[in-house]
């Protein structure tokens, strides 16, 4: 099949590549760029394990073509930590608050939460729950994910850290 050239930014780096027009963004990221953080959980846009950030919006990369990201700016879980390896407040929060178990939904969940906090830096519990309702988790029951996101919100806004879960 004929391939199309695309040019985009992924985690701050410029990427030029040839892709089949039908290649999904998730497969482009995972197979061609070896960014295996985002996962595939459902194929129908429901689970959000494939969530990445594209031009300041959360997108489900299993439901768009790589060519649609041409010219865009993509952020995946691999781009969340600082260059020196320091974890992002969300990554730290997920560990501190036990916001993950099998880890499969985590990359999508964190990247989604990142966009949520950009839009609403101090969300209430209900707002967090609404904000991550496009991302499914089968292990945690969400309660500690909510706490993890609120932990990060507090840390990012310089506020006092919430008490660890009892």
């Amino acid at each position: 099949m004929a391939k199309s050239p695309i040019n985009l930014k992924v985690n701050g780096k410029t990427v030029e590549a040839l892709v089949e027009p039908r290649t999904l963004l998730i497969h482009f990221l995972r197979e061609q760029l070896n960014l295996t953080g985002p996962h595939i959980g459902c194929d129908t846009s429901h689970c959000g394990a494939c969530t990445v950030d594209l031009d300041g919006k959360s997108v489900k990369s299993c439901t768009m073509f790589a060519v649609q990201a041409d010219g865009g700016d993509v952020l995946t879980i691999e781009g969340m930590a600082a260059a020196d390896g320091t974890l992002h407040a969300l990554q730290e929060g997920f560990r501190e608050m036990h916001g993950l178990q099998c880890g499969f939904c985590t990359p999508g969940m964190i990247v989604r939460a990142h966009r949520l906090l950009k839009e609403n830096p101090n969300p209430s519990e209900d707002e967090v729950r609404q904000g991550i309702s496009g991302n499914l988790c089968r292990c945690t029951g969400y309660q500690n994910i909510v706490k993890a996101i609120q932990y990060a919100a507090a840390k990012l806004s310089g506020g006092a850290l919430k008490e660890a879960a009892e």
Binding site: E20, R22, T23, H27, R30, E31, N34, L35, T36, G37, H39, I40, G41, C42, D43, T44, H46, C47, A49, T76, I77, E78, M80, A81, L87, Q91, E92, F94, R95, E96, H98, L100, Q101, C102, G103, F104, C105, T106, P107, I110, V128, R129, Q130, I132, S133, G134, N135, L136, C137, R138, C139, T140, G141, Y142, Q143, N144, I145, V146, A164, A165
Partner: protein, 806 residues
């Protein structure tokens, strides 16, 4: 000792041992997207497999034509049953003693059954080619309703065994019959019912659901033709068993098969068994000499690999007028689908369903189970529960509520009256189990006190009055459930899988610097074993958990084990870990005695060291002893410091809990809001309270999904309806209630550290608790038993039938 010596508290804290909320070590890679799941693997020359599946639930295959598929550029081969038959691989053995088709030979028996396997150099091309395989079918009559399976004129499903009068578990009554299983004293139970002052009878059905981990089933098979060695990376909850099964059916010697389970994205019972995709990927790799990856998509996952439940339980309780239970009688019709692929210990065709007497002191009971074949996907796995235990708990907990309703008694009061008393443990149940320990009354009382149970009932009464007067359109329901789990299979005397006794294992190696590598026969799928096993070793050996690396899932390096399911890791491999550590400690004590020039008996253990009794300043830390083990061992002692333990538990463990749930049901929309959910769990000794709480949250959420919406449905043509997340209910953060967790601690008397296992308790107790709450909301209006799932439509329908919509 001097001022520099850390205090006992500091030394204990530094270990991060049992009982502390140690942060998980596995999180460091997962939060950075650096987990290593099967689909992340890439090997040079790797090919991709995909299936052509049957659109029909029951049909004869007239012809399979792969010409067009093979002509597609990039397609390497198309496998059908005709290719597998000469290798005797067109059928594979199931864990339940049946066989299951790998690729359909003459007939298909359920929708989406595997018919052809395409191998291509690209996953998109493989999917394209799957659609190009032309299959000619002749449709046959479809059997969907398990209650019609043994009718005289029912269609014959399994032609391969239709004349076999004996199955894996005794006589078969009908060509669609799988097995009968019976336990208990039938005569004494019948007599109890004859004498009963009060009795209830209800058909309690537990719908077909699916475990649905977020990562589907997948594998990469790679056969090295030169060495004759096969490596399979896969989503395996039980990698060693997969290796043994692979060896038995492929005839490749077991030592030349390397099975590796890398990080697993949730299992919940879905990843215990072997599936056609694994076999086909292995065959494809042997045929092509290249690695072959198979990854199922979500529709394939929900519609083919392993359903759970589908148990139809006719349940009767006999009791006195004042509410003392005197007998229990249960008959189960079990829908096993097209092949009996239950993942139970081989001698237990209905799992441990005979835990159905629950937490109550039934003097007599009788239970019989009949399994039947239908045109549905095979399975019958333990979805976040021990084998058929959630079915049993749902059955008895609903039945107790129905009895309470008949007696006009409070459901909590009825339970209090019949719970096994503390002094009765170890308790022999009427259906053959020995419950190891429990303090049920304390747990239920604590639960009732915490939620102010009496006040809730008073509030409910007022709400009901208000409803009758038309002042509200909401019904308040209070659900009570008290469950007893049976986990940790199992004693090898009564539990095996295909003849392999169900023990588990741990191997611990202490390196000269005091760092540790330990390996177990289990396999975490999110439970946090890398964190918690290290805590056990830390406490047992006085070495910091941060210096202990836990490895699982590689059959080349890990000792043989039966895997992780049925909450068995802590009861079995957790015990093996403690026992192996104790072997090491015993040797370390000999070395310490030699170094300190005292008798072993003059030494005592303290946190991280052996010290001389009465002279605590003379001591050797475990770290020092590790060095000495490789440097200066006493005469006659082997150097080195490592141990293996294979632990065959003397009994199962019996975690229990008391759950209370409050719901408000809107009769006009059918929407049920969970106002409160309180869960008290007793899992014995608590290794990591943070992880326990996380397990309970997750299990309750899965229970919520099952009780409130999940169902794998079939229409009368055998079409599986809605096997995607569009229709199959997956609770999001919005619907999921907030959980309140609590605990009591009743250590297991026979487990080395007193732990019992917890991962599945919340599912076992949670499902009946939600169901009882919804039923409780409606019961003052005369309703007796409302079947799950309690989705909005069904609940609205119940309200409608009760005439609540005017």
């Amino acid at each position: 000792m001097n001022d520099q010596t850390p205090s006992k508290e500091e030394r204990t804290e530094r270990l991060q041992g049992m009982g502390c909320k140690r942060k998980r070590v596995e999180d460091v890679r997962f939060v950075q997207g650096k987990g290593n799941y099967v689909d992340d693997m890439k090997l040079p020359g790797m090919l991709y497999g995909d299936f052509t599946r049957s659109p029909y639930a029951h049909a004869r295959i007239k012809k399979i034509d792969g010409t067009a598929a093979k002509a597609l550029p990039g397609v390497i081969a198309v496998l059908t049953a005709a290719d597998l038959k000469p290798l005797s691989l067109h059928y594979m053995p199931t864990l339940a003693g049946d066989v299951a088709a790998v690729l359909a030979e003459e007939k298909v028996l359920y929708q989406n059954q595997e018919v052809a396997f395409i191998i291509a150099d690209d996953r998109y091309v493989a999917a394209d080619a799957a659609d190009l395989v032309e299959v000619e079918y002749e449709e046959l009559p479809v059997l969907v309703d398990p209650f019609k399976a043994m009718a005289p004129d029912a269609p014959v499903l399994r032609e391969d065994i239709k004349d076999k009068t004996d199955g894996a578990h005794g006589k078969r009554k009908h060509y669609n019959h799988v097995f009968s299983w019976e336990i208990g004293d039938r005569e004494a139970t019948d007599a109890a019912f004859k004498k009963a002052e009060v009795s209830i009878k209800e058909l309690i059905s537990y719908q077909r659901v699916h475990p649905c981990p977020l990562e589907t089933c997948q594998c990469v098979a790679s056969f090295d033709k030169i060495k004759g060695e096969l490596t399979v990376w896969g989503t395996f909850q039980a990698p060693h068993v997969i290796r043994t099964v692979a060896s038995l059916i492929s005839k490749i010697p077991e030592h030349k098969i390397h099975v590796i389970a890398p990080d697993i994205g949730g299992g919940f019972g879905n990843k215990v068994g072997a599936y056609p995709g694994y076999i086909c990927a292995i065959v494809a790799s042997i045929v092509t000499g290249q690695p072959v990856k198979w990854v199922e998509d979500r529709i394939e996952n929900l519609s083919t690999t392993s359903f759970a439940r589908d148990y139809h339980m006719t349940t009767e309780i006999a009791a006195t007028k004042d509410g003392k239970v005197t007998g229990l009688r249960v008959h189960v019709l079990a829908d096993h689908g097209a092949f009996d692929a239950c993942a139970d210990p081989s001698k237990w065709p209905a799992g441990f369903f005979n835990i159905v007497t629950g937490s109550y002191d039934f003097p007599v009971a009788h239970c019989a189970v009949d399994g039947v074949y239908t045109n549905k996907a095979p399975g019958g796995v333990a979805y976040r529960c021990s084998f058929r235990v959630t079915e049993a708990a749902y059955c008895i907990e609903r039945a107790m509520d129905i009895l309470a309703q008949k007696l006009n008694m409070d459901p909590a009061e009825l339970r209090m009256k019949n719970l096994v008393r503390k002094e009765q443990f170890p308790y022999q149940s009427a259906l053959g189990w020995e419950y190891d320990s429990g303090d049920y009354h304390t747990a239920l009382q604590k639960a009732m006190d915490t939620v102010s149970y009496k006040k809730l009932r008073e509030e409910q009464k007022q709400e009901q009055e208000a409803f009758k007067k038309g002042k509200t359109r909401e019904l308040m329901g209070i659900g009570v459930a008290f469950f007893t789990e049976i986990v940790g299979a199992g004693p090898s005397r009564n539990c095996d899988i295909l003849g392999i006794a169900m023990f588990d294992s741990a191997e611990i190696r202490i390196h000269p610097t005091g760092a540790v590598t330990a390996r177990m026969g289990t396999k975490s799928q999110g439970q946090g074993h890398e964190t918690t096993y290290a805590q056990i070793i830390a406490t047992e050996l006085g070495l910091p958990a941060d210096d202990i690396m836990i490895e699982e899932g590689n059959t080349d390096t890990a000792p043989y084990g039966l895997g992780t399911y049925g909450s068995r890791s802590t009861p079995t491999a957790g015990a093996a870990t403690a026992m192996a550590a104790r072997k090491i400690k015993a040797k370390a004590q000999m070395i310490a005695a030699d170094l300190l020039e005292v008798s072993e008996y003059d030494l005592e253990w303290e946190i991280d060291r052996f010290r001389v009794k009465g002279n605590p300043e003379r001591f050797k830390t475990m770290k020092e002893l590790a060095w000495a083990a490789y440097n200066r061992v006493p005469k006659g002692l082997e150097p080195g410091l490592e141990a293996v333990n294979y632990y065959d538990p003397p009994n199962m463990t019996y975690p229990f809990g008391a759950y209370i749930c409050v719901v408000d049901v809107d009769v006009d929309t059918g929407v049920t809001k969970v106002r409160r959910f309180y869960a008290l769990d007793d899992c014995g000794t608590r290794i990591n309270p943070m992880i326990i709480e996380g397990q309970v949250h997750g299990g309750l959420t899965e229970a919520f999904g099952i009780a409130m919406g999940q169902e794998i449905r079939y229409d009368e043509m055998g079409n599986v309806t809605g096997p995607t997340f569009m229709d199959y209910f997956m609770p999001t953060a919005v619907e999921t209630p907030k959980w309140e967790t609590d605990w009591t601690v009743t250590p297991s008397p026979h487990h080395p550290i007193g732990a019992k296992g917890v991962g599945e308790s919340p599912n076992v107790g949670g499902v009946p608790c939600f169901a009882n709450a919804v039923n409780d909301a409606f019961k003052f209006l005369g309703s007796t038993h409302i079947a799950m799932p309690h989705d909005h439509w069904r609940t609205w329908t119940v309200a409608d039938k009760l005439g609540l919509h005017g």
